[in-house]
Amino acid sequence: MGVFDPLIELSKGLGETLRSFLFEKTVTVQYPEEKRPVHPRFRGRHVLKRYDNGLEKCIGCSLCAAACPADAIFVEASENTDEKRFSPGERYASTYEINMLRCIYCGFCEDACPTEAIVLGDNYELSFYDRRDAIYGKEMLLEPVPSDQMLTPRKVEAGVFTRSVPEMKDPTD
């Protein structure tokens, strides 16, 4: 073994470093200034969705709470009227709470939802100063309305939104 052999090995290694520095894309992300996109099926913090017309998809059926293995969801329902309509049909969620400290992000709530109202989104930045703050209410979970005219509750034409669950289509179609 020659005297310079270690230096050769060293320069080989440094060369590799230099090559990756010059020619490879950087792996490090400058979080929180910079955020890496999540995978399409990533399960982050929940969002309560709206229909295109701004009405809430959630009908307060509490099936998400029933499916939840961590008992993190609490739902209470009330009755819609055409004067004060939150969601299509008779029933809407007047209380909707998720305890984010309890949630295990399994996505069972999504699976159980008959109206695809609850969706696990891509937000993973959940931190709280107080345990109480970990309970997210309906106002925090609902996605923003597309326009100001679509706020809920709102007055709607009578007799239009009579069905809670979107009409089932003929399976043979």
Partner: protein, 815 residues
Amino acid sequence: MTKQVSLTINGTQVTVPEGTLVVDAAKMAGIDIPVFCHHPKLEPVGMCRMCLVEIGRPMLDRTTGQVVMENGQPKIQFMPKLETACTNRVSEGMVVMTLSDKAKDGQQGTVEFLLTSHPLDCPVCDKGGECPLQNLTMGFGPGKSRFIYDEKLHLEKQVPLGELIWLDRERCIQCARCIRFQDEIAGEAVLGFDERGRNTQIVSLSDPGFDSVFSGNTTDICPVGALTTADFRFGARPWELKAQASICTQCPVGCNTTLNTRREAKSGGDIVVKRVMPRQNEEVNEIWLCDKGRFAYHYAESKKRLTKPLVRKDEKLARASWDAAVKLAAENFSANKKDFVVLASGRLANEDLFNLKSLADTAGGKAILYSDMAGGELTRLVGVGAGTNIGTMGAGDVILVVASDLYEEAPIWWLRVKQAADRGATLIVANPRATKLDRFAKYTIRYAYGDEIKTIHDFEKKSKISDEFAKAKNAIVFFGSDGLGVSGTGALASACANLLKDTEHVGRPNNGLIGVWQRANDQGAFEIGFEPEEDLAKALKGKSVYIVGADPVGDDPNLAKALNGAKFVAVQDILETETTEIADVVFPAQAFTEREGTFVSGERRVQRFYAAVPAQGDSKPDFAITSMVAKQMGVILEGSSPSVVFDILSHSIDAFNELTYEKLAELHGQWPIVGRGDLYYGGTTYENTQGLGVQLMPVAQVEGTVKLSKVRKEAALRPKEKELLAVPVNKLYDLGVTIASAELLEQRIGDVYVSMHSATAKKLDVEVGSLVKLSFDGVNGEAVVKIDDTISTGVVLVPRSMGIAIHEPTLAKVK
């Protein structure tokens, strides 16, 4: 004993009484045949076709009439088509197959058909989770549908049948259980079918809509979510509710109930009662509950609840510590030992009443029951015998109802008495005016107010009615307070007791006297030794009074005057009342939903209720508060465990015969089978898992004989030519504190009214619907005039607890 019949169901040998329906026989053997329209309490109709099974019967030789044998076995002949198990009665040697391919095919077809016009909106349906259609679709359905979805029937979804019950026309499967319940069991045919074919719908035939006090039961037996209650509408999903056994506190029937509880956001995250459901007890309420019991529970959560002890300081009530409040009360009671009076009502549990009575006895005070009715010492002597079950009374038995409108005073007794009459029992209704029970009575005796005792004495004379009463196999007498006060009911009870004794209808099951008391535990108060007072105002004046569970100031201006002249007033209650306003000390008590205890029903059944929700504020159970006060007065009473108080009670009062909480929690098998696992069969009524209670034996049953004092001859108050007699009557939905908090029932409470004969109205020159001023005995009030021509003339009926204080018949003036 009825003849037994043996048959084979799914290869299992089953022996049942003759006349049993195949579906019930299968249920007895633990085999489930799916049903929608069949209900074990209703007559079979075979409307839904869900119970299709294969039925075979032994083949008979036409010439000899003998069973044809084949290989040593009877040859079974099956019908070519499926039969309904709910309309076929069992016969000897019958073979039933419920799981054969053919039977399954029939059942699957029925489910598939039913679902063609069912909306499948289970997520928003109040029945979802405890729904027979859901369960049977999973258990017996085909799993998929060949139906074209575009042809789904869309109908109205929010149809209020009345203000209490909502109909969803889409969900209805036209099983007619609700219609049949109202027809057959409640005897009030206020529902019916309208139109035909796919347009068939349930409609209310009455005005106001669904005018029945049993309407809530239809939501229990509805096999789908078509009928739901306005009270529980979207209240919670059934699986989120916790269940705790309780006893209804509204009347002396003592219906077994289940309180469903859950956390509620609008109550600040507290656990509250979300709904009241009936709990099966075939000897008390079967599987039913009246609307008052079901919907009037809200008073325990009222905003007016007392949560802290209060003490009067500088003319105002101010918050105080328990120690200070108890000490103040005890010092005043001790200082006025001679004038110490305990005034308690039958809203309290036995444990509370026992401690109060013990305190009054040791301190040398008087224990008064806050009630317009007397006669409790007689129900102790000749009350109905242990083992009484009105549900078993029928042909050959007699039930006499005197001076009581059972429909208004104790609806479930009304229902049970009506059904006994349907089964053939002779019902005699003696009342000074027409009541809803008259329709089912074989004999109706109409007497003038004041003639109650005479009417009972007439039973001693020979007549068709008295003959039938005397010769009856069993006889029960219900006596009430229609037109009577303390002295009147006392005399009436005594007359009834003597009649029962003379005709030898005492000391046996299904025989004896029942008081239709005003409150749930009046019977318990009588057992413990409380007595009502004829002149309560006099008994309170100038005394040192301990008022528990009563609102005399709010009820009667005369009592208010008397209490204002009292030396010292301590009030113990769950709600702020007008009486707490004048009190020197106020103790906050716990509601029946928050603590344990026992009640004695009018049929003398001791029953337990359990704590379902946490106590509000600093409130304590009544018996514990009494024990604290007693301790300060130097009397030691148990104050921590209700079961220990009950043990002491049952060892010191003979009738309780050393009962314990454990004995009260005992169960035995009941028919029909109901409960969470058998929703499709009995409805959503809860099964009884926490105790059926124990019926006390009256003295006549224990000793075989009984001594009764002679009837006091009361000089009956009768109106003279120009006089007007005001008499008290009872109303189901009144303005009492236990009902007024239920917003839903407001409409049923209605206006303050008085009713009189049209001739009386003419004489007084008042018209129907006009407002009149009524005054008597220091009481003034305004009321709307109603006409009832079945009342005797010269009499005006004033409902109790409707704003005009009336306790007993009294001469009045009307303007």
